[in-house]
Symmetry: C2
Subunit: 299 residues, 2 copies
């Protein structure tokens, strides 16, 4: 049964809402990062957070609105998760990792400055995330809860652990099972996404279980859609299924489920994500739209 909701944004309206939140988060973050006495370190930190869609920050702000959380507290939490996301990208782009020269069409931090600045700007961005939460208009209990969950989801049992598992799987060249690839992606990309969707409920000290289910479902759907686009995007571009990941011997949701199976699974997960929010009624309409659009435009 298809999920029904009161109001549906057009894709253009959703993009505008996402862009407005990203602009607000950027305006909030940049002066806090590019502090003059920090010199190039501050410049590199501010550079690293800019230019992305800020989907994680958007989820923090939207789920905070859903729970009537103070805008100041929500903005600090949104800034924090974007700092963690940005640090992970800066370190991922390093020559010893993915060795990327460009990110969002701009030189990566180690190309714009150097590797030492990229390592240190990433390190400082992680610290800044905790400093932001610690200065938010939120109770001590909520601050502590947000910080420890960010540490858990961003650390060895979450995002960083997923990155190491991904590197290990690639260098082993072995095909993963569906359970293994699901666990890997739950860490690598899911952990921070789930933190951001849960943030609104955590800040309001409300039940975060529905928003956790929502985040888990769209995190996985997002990754499946990514694999689908890797195949279909290439097909459109070069006229045949290139399947880069497949050629590299890398298991993907498409190689494991087939193209149609993967699309079906992503659609099911979007429905699961929306169903998880039914208790919120019409107030969750934008988040339900977000689930749908995030899958449709995952590249």
């Amino acid at each position: 049964m298809a999920t029904l909701w009161a109001r549906r944004l057009s894709m253009a309206e959703f993009k505008a809402a996402l862009a407005a939140d990203a602009a607000a988060i950027t305006d909030f973050l940049v002066p806090k990062l590019a502090v003059p006495q920090r010199g190039i370190l501050g410049e590199a930190m501010a550079y690293a957070v800019q230019g992305g869609k800020m989907l994680r920050g958007f989820f923090v702000l939207e789920t905070a609105r859903l729970h009537g959380v103070s805008p100041d507290g929500a903005m600090h939490a949104a800034g924090a998760i974007e700092c963690v996301h940005a640090y992970s990208l800066v370190h991922d782009d390093l020559p010893c990792m993915d060795d990327d020269d460009l990110r969002r069409g701009q030189p990566t931090v180690h190309r714009r400055w150097d590797e030492a600045i990229a390592v240190l700007a990433g390190d400082a961005l992680q610290a800044q995330a905790f400093a932001l939460i610690g200065t938010a208009d939120l109770s001590d209990a909520v601050q502590a809860q947000l910080m420890v969950s960010l540490a858990d989801r961003g650390g060895a049992d979450g995002m960083v652990g997923g990155q190491v598992a991904d590197i290990a799987a690639e260098s082993a060249g072995g095909a993963l099972t569906l359970d293994e690839i699901t666990a890997l992606q739950a860490g690598k990309t899911g952990a921070l996404l789930i933190w951001s969707t849960m943030a609104g409920a955590v800040m309001a000290e409300a039940d975060a279980a529905p928003l956790r289910r929502y985040g888990e479902a769209i995190g996985l759907a997002f990754q499946i859609a990514d694999d689908v686009l890797d195949v279909e995007g290439d097909e459109a571009a070069v006229g045949k299924a290139v399947r880069k990941d497949d050629a590299a011997g890398k298991a993907t949701f498409v190689s494991l489920l087939g193209l149609d199976g993967a699309k079906r699974r992503a659609a099911e997960l979007v429905d699961e994500a929306c169903d998880a929010l039914n208790g919120y009624g019409d107030a969750a309409a934008t988040l339900k739209d977000a689930a749908r659009f995030v899958i449709e435009r995952s590249h």
Copy 2:
């Protein structure tokens, strides 16, 4: 006037006390880091925290004892500061930074594994520090206070900022003034040291000003003694004053104050550190001994 105190440890007794705390912190940390499902990431994290003097953890445990803080809370905070210190060393040792093959006589993390693991193990150690504080037997208010001060002192305005300033000063090749080098060292090595000496009072929600002054004084004294040893150590070894830093055009406390002036300043700072603890009476005897011994054996 020389500072007097009731009990004085011998150097051997002090070393034994330091080693006992380091062993306790290591026993606490290693199983929390080398979790089997983390694989080599956990191994690298545990490897990185081992083998050092754990001076920062010692200060946390000692100042916690001084304030009657719960041993569980103190141990979590001691483990946290050692995780941050360890991550900073792992990243400092990277080829793009100091490019060191050995640390404490063992291969550095990027030599034992590879650079990607070193970057990621460092990242995960920073996150783990916050996770440890967030699971300590401490109130929400104290947890939040410890986490935000750790983020501030470990980030762009503290340790990481000091590292960037150090790199900038070296590559500029210019001589720093005494104020500049003092500010640089206050960030690079002082910030975490001060956090560790203040931790006991912060955990007890007591006035942390005396322990801050103590930490500030020994942090600076430690660095001056380091510069003195760089000269005198080399003299003993090769029969002449090599002055590596000086030859590299790098301003040091010795180049700015002269050898005798630097020694005098370090001794004054040890007295200042001890005087700051006078309000604690005999209970602070071990910390006063520590100030003296840390300077004497700073290498």
